[in-house]
Structures are given as C-alpha cells and as structure tokens.
Subunit: 584 residues, 2 copies
Amino acid sequence: MDFKRYFPIFQWLPLYGRETLISDLLAAVIVTIMLIPQSLAYAMLAGLPPEVGLYASIAPLFLYAIFGTSRTLAVGPVAVIALMTAAAAGNLAIQGSPEYVTLVIVLTFMSGLMLTIMGLVKLGFLANFLSHPVISGFITASGLIIAASQARHLLGLDAEGVNFISVMYGLLSRLNEVHLITLAIGLGTLVFLYANRFWGRHLLTSVGFNPHTADMMSKAAPVLAVALTTFVTWHWQLDQQGVRVVGTIPTGLPPLSLPPLIPQLWTDLFLAAVLISIVGFVESVSVGQTLAAKRRQRIDPNQELIGLGAANLGSAFSSGMPVSGGFSRSIVNFDAGAATPAAGAYSAIGILIATLFLTPLIAYLPVATLAATIIVAVLSLIDLKAVHETFVYSKSDFAAMLATILITLTQGVELGIMVGVGLSLLLYLYRTSRPHYAVIGRLPNTEHFRNVERYDVEVDDRIALLRIDESLYFANSRYLEDVVMDIVINQPKLNHLVLTCQAVNLIDSSALDSLRTINKRLKDSGVQMHLAEVKGPVMDRLKKTDFLDEMSGVVYMSTYDAWKVLHERAEESESEKNSTDKSA
Amino acid sequence: MDFKRYFPIFQWLPLYGRETLISDLLAAVIVTIMLIPQSLAYAMLAGLPPEVGLYASIAPLFLYAIFGTSRTLAVGPVAVIALMTAAAAGNLAIQGSPEYVTLVIVLTFMSGLMLTIMGLVKLGFLANFLSHPVISGFITASGLIIAASQARHLLGLDAEGVNFISVMYGLLSRLNEVHLITLAIGLGTLVFLYANRFWGRHLLTSVGFNPHTADMMSKAAPVLAVALTTFVTWHWQLDQQGVRVVGTIPTGLPPLSLPPLIPQLWTDLFLAAVLISIVGFVESVSVGQTLAAKRRQRIDPNQELIGLGAANLGSAFSSGMPVSGGFSRSIVNFDAGAATPAAGAYSAIGILIATLFLTPLIAYLPVATLAATIIVAVLSLIDLKAVHETFVYSKSDFAAMLATILITLTQGVELGIMVGVGLSLLLYLYRTSRPHYAVIGRLPNTEHFRNVERYDVEVDDRIALLRIDESLYFANSRYLEDVVMDIVINQPKLNHLVLTCQAVNLIDSSALDSLRTINKRLKDSGVQMHLAEVKGPVMDRLKKTDFLDEMSGVVYMSTYDAWKVLHERAEESESEKNSTDKSA
C-alpha cells in the first residue's frame, strides 16, 4: 500500500492496455512537437546553451512518470523558473560560461533534493506560505521581465540590464541600431503566432478540419514558425548578414553530470534553490489539481513534491536545468487525450530522438524566432485582470500584490518573491493574532445568548460572558489576555468572568499558559474565572493538568447554567458583596 | 491625545504628588541596592568590563520612564540577553577587547532602532511568533548555559567552551586545579544566598522585623554578600593569593559612545540584533503585563516597544549594553511600592551616584561572588516543571520545546531560538492549514442540520452540504479545494454542493480564487456549487466581483432553504436526471 503511494506508477501500469497506449502516444507526439522549440527557448532564457533545454526534457519526464501522481502534468523547462535560474546563476558567473552551467546543475540538484525531502517529511502545506495575490503578482512581473529581456533578440540588439527598468532603458536608447532582417524575422514570427492564437483554429475549421484536429494543429504553429524561419535563414544564408542563429548543437545522449561538492557554492545557491523549489511546486500543483479535477481524479501534493524532486534530480545528473510542471504544455497534453504519465515518458523518447538526430537541422534557427515564441508564451502570464480584481476586492491583498510586482520589476525576482512571502506571512499573522470573540448577554426569557453589541440582551455588570469563536493557540492567545483585562478595567463591578468555549477545538500549551495567566490576573483583580461549554476532547486534555484545580471558578455545562448560578448568587449577596469589594 | 500615547510620562507626571514620591523613592533605594551587583554581574556574563553594566543602568532607566507604559517594570541588563550578547559579539571579537565593546554598542544601537521602528509601525503582534513552550525551553537552556559558564569563576578555573557540553567537559577534566580560596568564597556566597532565599525572610521575621521589611531586607542579601566578601578579600589581600577580583573601575559619568557606521558590522550583527530585540521584548512584556494586571492597569505592547527601543538607544550612546525588563527586579520594584516609572528614574540616579563615588570600594570584589549571584538568579529560570507539564499536555508542543532546549544547549543560543521560532511557525501553519469543516445532514423533521458523523441525520447522495467553521484565507483555502474534490470523488451521484458559511467572517483574495477554482472543477465534474448563510460583510465584498455570476449555482439564505429547493428538485427530476447524468 505504502509502496504504491511512493511509486504511483504501480497504480496505473498493471492496468495499462492498448487503448490507453494509443491515447498516450498521440498526446506524446503533439507535446513533443510543442516541447522542442519551448525547451530550446527556455534554455536560452536561462542563459544556457540550447541543448540543455532538450536534456532537461528527457530524464525528468521518465522520472516524473514513475513518481508523479498527476496523470497529465507535462514537466520540463518553464519560463518563470528559467528566469529565476538566470537570476540566481547570473549573480555568480557569466551567462553561458562553463562555471555558469555548473552553477545551474548545482541549483537543479539542490532544488531536486529539497523537493524530495519536503515530500518525504510531508511539507506540502508549506506552499500555503504563498498567497494567490503574491504568486499572481510575481508571475505577472516575471512575464514582463521575460518579455523585456527577449525584446532585444527580436530587435537584434545587445542591450543588457539588471532589471526591467534598465533593460527597457537600454533598448529604447539604442533603437537606431535595430537589425532590420532580425526584426523582420522576429516580428513576422510574433505576428504569425498571435494571428494563429486568435484565428488559427477558426481558419483551420473553416477549411474543413474537425475542431479537435484544428486545435491540435494550431498548437503546433510554433514548430511551423521554427521550420520556416530556419529554412529562410539557411537558404539565403542570413546568418552571414548578422541574423543570430542557434548554431551547432552537439548531437548525442545527454552527458552525465555530477554536481560538484563545493560548500561555498551550495551556500550561495541555497536561497535561490528554496525559492525555485517553492515557486515550481506551487505552479505545478495548481496545474495538476485543475487538470485532475476535470476527470474527477486526485493528486497527492506530498507525492507531487517527490515526483518533481525526482525529476529535478534526474535533470541535474543529465546536464539539464530546473524543471517544473508547465501550464500550456500540460493543457495540450490533457486535451490531446493523455491518459497516464506514460505519455510523458513517450514525449521523453520523442525528445531523445530529436536530440540524437534532429539537432543538425536547427543550426540555422534564428534566435529571434525563439524570442518571439517566448514572448507569446509569457504575455499570457501577465494577468492585469487579476490585479484589477484584487484591487476591487481587498486593499490589503492588493498592497501585497503591488509590492511583489514593483519589487520584482525593480529589484529582481528573488527579492520580489521573498518580500511577497514575507508580506503574506505578516498579513496572515496580523489577521490571526486576534481571535474572534464576542461579549454576550441573555436574550430575555430564553436560554440563548447573543452578542451584546448586536442584540438587546440582558446583562449583569458583575458578570461578563465572553464567547470565544476560535481555537486558542500561541498566535492568538496573548490577545485574549488583553481582551479580558480590557473588560476587567472597563467593568469595575466585575466579580465573575465566564469564557464560553463551544467553538474552541484546541487549546495548545501557550494558550493554556495564557489561561493560567488570565486566571492569576483575574484573581489579583478580585474576579473569579469560569469556563462553560468546553468540548470533550479539550476537557480531557485540561484534566491532565492542574489548571482546573488552580482556576478560581468552576466549569459549567452551558452558558445558561453559568448565568443562572452566578446571576442568582450575585443578586442574593448584593449587599454583602458591596462591603467586601475593596478587600477582594 | 496621540502625543500622550507616545510620551506616556505626561499621563502620570501632572498627577505626581508627595505620597507617590515617597513610595517611588523607597522602591528606588531597594532596586538600586539590588541592581548594583546584578549590573556588574551581567556585564561580566556578557564578557564586558563591569562598569558597562552600571552605564546600562542609567540612561536606559531615564528613557524608559519617559516612553514606557509599565508603571513598575525595572529595565537594565538581564541574564538571558547578556548571554545572547556574549554569543553574538564573541563570534566576531575576543571578549573584553575594544572591538568587542564596539560590537556590543552597535548591537545595542541596532536593537534599539529595531524595537523603536517595530513600535512605530505597530508590529507588537510579531511577538506571537514565539510560542510559550519555545520561549520557556529557550530560557531554561540559557539558564543552564549561564550556570555552567559561571561555575568556572566559582571554581577558580579558566576552562573555556563553545557550548554547554564542552564547558561542562572542560570543568570536569580540570577539577584537580580548583583554586580553594576562590571556591570557599564562591561556595560560601552561594550557600548564603540560597539559605537567604529559603529561610532569610522567616529568620528576620522571627527576630522581630515585620514581614514586609524582612522581605525587603532579604532581597538586599546579595549586597551584604558583596560587601562581606569584598572586605574579606581586601583585609587579607586574597587577590595576591590568586583570588580574581573585579579590579579598578573607572569613576565618572558614562562616556558618550557612537556606534560606528561600518556596513559589514551591521550586516554581521543584524540577525543577533533581531533575536535579542524579540526575546527582550517578549520577556519584558510578559513581566509588565503580569504586574500591571495586579493593579488593574494596562500596558500598551506597541508603546512598550518604543520604550524598550529608547532605553536601548540610550544605552548605545552611553557606552552600555542591551537592556530589557528584568523579572526579579521588576517584582521587587512592584513589591516595594513603586507607583510610577519615576521610581526607575530615581534608581538611575542611585546608580549614577554609585558610578561616581562607590566604584573604588568594589575593586576588591571577588569575581566568584558575582558568579554566585548570577547562578542563584538564573537557576530560578530553569523551569523543569514546565517541561514536564508540556510533555503531559501536548506532545507536539513538547517536541518544539525539547528541540529548542537541545539545540540551544549544543549549538548555542542563536540557532536555538531560531529553530524554536521556525518550529513554532511550522506547527502553527500546519495546524491552521486545514479549516475546520463538517459534512452536515438534516435532523429529521426540523430545520436544523448537524454533522453526519455524529448525528443520525437525513442525507441525499445527490446533494452535499459542507459547513465551513472558519474564515477562509490563503493558508487554509487550498485544503478546502481538496476537501470538496474528495466529496465529489466519493459521492458519484453528486449534482449539488452547498457551502454553508455562517462561521466565515472573511474570504480573502486567495480564498476567493479557491472558490472560483472549486466552482470550475465542480462544473467540470457536472456538479453545481451553491452558497448558504453568507454573512452580510462577506456578501458585500463578493458582490464587488463577478464570482456570483460565474458560480454555477445560487446563494441561499439558509441551509434549510438550500436543502428544500435542491432536494425537492432532485426528487422531481429523478428519472430525467438519470438519463442526462453522462452528458453533464
């Protein structure tokens, strides 16, 4: 049972049949065609030789097929992770240098290790650190940075820059140096891809293809653009006239690589590896869950960590780069009818064949074509609608989102995502540092109690009934101490305070300490503390301690019981009480 | 109004009268007597010249009197903070060297700045990061480390060590070198102080003092020990025979000091300053709140941050060390009748006089006496009862506590507190990553709905009613997606899902996204999503978005409404539904 949990492949492999094989193979062909230009482009985006993108699309896909739980997630290089990789490795070495490639392998290995360990110790819930506004803001800003960074390839310029602002400035100040043939190829591809995105399917159906086939064909448009521009460049030898091309790509199996054991490198890349792991995991899981839900299937987030971890470890040992579940590719895989992770393995075989035999054909592939592919892909990441909706819906969430966007654009991806996470956490802690509570009073002539601020209820200034609407633990229990002392100070005649606990599912050690503190302080102020409606499991735990003996008051079954006893007692001893008030 | 909030001194100074003056002066005399040996001892513990402790007990006390909100908190050097200071500065310079003193001044300044800023932007709630088991474990472990580190002064050994284990080993392996006269003085002081703690008050009352006077006299016992051992050492010139003494302390006002602006220093000390600030604040606020409650007074945690911040800034500019609110001293101040923070200012004057005139008298004070004072003080910090209670009460809290203790003892205070904070946060996120919820059914023939697992209720396998018992935000909303999909998968006939939201006070942007996702996934699975009992403010927010139009179902006023409509509709269209199930 547990074995199958850690090796999900054994859940579907025994049932594998002919029909599934055909669906998976068909999906694999389409994904492979889409993956070839994407993997070359994202390797370029990460500042790596193009073949690294292909290498990262072989072993990781096999490993994910064994360890992953999503039936349709297509792993491989993705845009945002490629950008983060470039940012991390670019701090420590020059893009494209051998040291740079080594750094990326260490980064991939660390990320794989972290994901695997997080999966084994079941830390999938850590993805909750990232709120939606932060991740959405981060991805939008990353999309802008990627688009800006690729614009130079489209324009044939060499402008460099450390962030969005300086890249844009560099481009604009050198517009007079634009290389026109490169621009023609790049812009042509861009227009073609956009036209295809909006009208391609419609055009293909109108000339007689059935809608599904038309859809799949239109998804293969980037390959057509690659083939066409490569042919044009080769035929007219445009590379001699200054059009930058991919160049010779080594043919053969991915070379084995070993991450070097240099402690300094590991320390330097640690933070980047953490961020890449978390962002990759969050993106991957959202895609995986959305697709699984469409077929009423489930994915297991902790096992997904192991699947992604294994994929990255595989990538690190086969000269690849960090991988994650890609959004567009996974949807294509799903739509094309992939039924099991085997489709991913077949795609890997497709890429392997391409690596072995097709690389000579793409030596003349213009870099501008790849840049256009990237720009079209990432512009769909920019979600201004989400920015607007968040603004309308919640100002504090919007603030977190805006800070993430601005800092990502101006200070880079690492600081951007960290500030985002920090802000999410701060907002969260702030929101949860105060338990919901209400001072309640009795609805006249009933056994019901309601918030004194909303209802016209019966109260007694010698008794305070405080209803706690949440579990108590260290993050919110200190605030309860404040609430109680506020009541004591504002209600000088107070003699009894009842905490009504029907919504309290847990009292942790810190909250228990707070209750002790409240009890002591109330005693010092001459007020007895009582509990009411304590749930069974909470009561069982309290009984293990001496708190109930220590508490100045008693535990009542219901709020009404507490009210009846204390109110009647107070009425009876009214005169006596007044005389003892001072000494209490 | 706001002015008085930031300068609490104006809340009490205008009302200051003769009676208050007398109470404050009396308390100040007693606290001063107690503070002199303590401040020397804690400076020694921090690896600083003894006068630094005195300097840190002048300006900070004046400043806290102006900015602090606790009427009775006695600020100054404290044991745990002194230990943390020694750990931080000891990493970068040799104890007692001029660089070391400079490092401590930078640390004090940074901590003061951080506390002040946290107070101004109202980050007092950040103290919630530290759960009680973690802080209690940390203080217990610190107490053990301090006691072990002082044992060498008691034994007259020079043993050094980087952590508790190595210090203990160093001491035990050199027991044959113990300096016997030093041991006699140290052990004598220790026995005297312990005897005083247990029997002193009783003895003094039995010879005729009234209990209150006896109590105060017994609190002054350390001063007696200091005077006696200093006299003995001076009279028999024991320093010539190897008894280490405090030596010549410069007389005069605390010299002005400026933290040097060396960025590298600031970076190196940043983390330590954060930890010292938070630990100091948490300790200080707990003491302050406990004492304030005894007189039905309040302290304002955010203003306390400013008060402590000002005190530390003052300490940094007057050659002092990091300060915080001390536990034992504050209780003495309170018991002695201090009525306003002016008592602290009078203590500062007392220490100032001591610094100006009394320092020559303590040149012959044996270091062993101070060590004994520290040991007696810190052993009360070691709270094995709390360890046991936490073990009995909650295994997960105990695990966090034990990890904090073990890592503090073996790896040092900084890593100890950080691991503790990390574990607290992890535990917290884990606990809150799953919102409480219940699948509910109808109590037959009523309009009430209850948990299907606990009650014998009416259900319909085409309808699922899910009651959400908590506010939804990014930390727990993803789990809700899982819960819903679990229901969908396990209930194949399902057509309608109703989320009952009477306990939902907030839906943040992330949770809204989750609701959208749930709606889409349900639609893909052929299930309609409905809401019921949505609170007014939550509904107002949802109306600002297009979610309600997007949602496949409708919003019902009550769970009963939803049940009635959907159940009846399902019954009516039973035959029809079966035929359309597949296409849905």
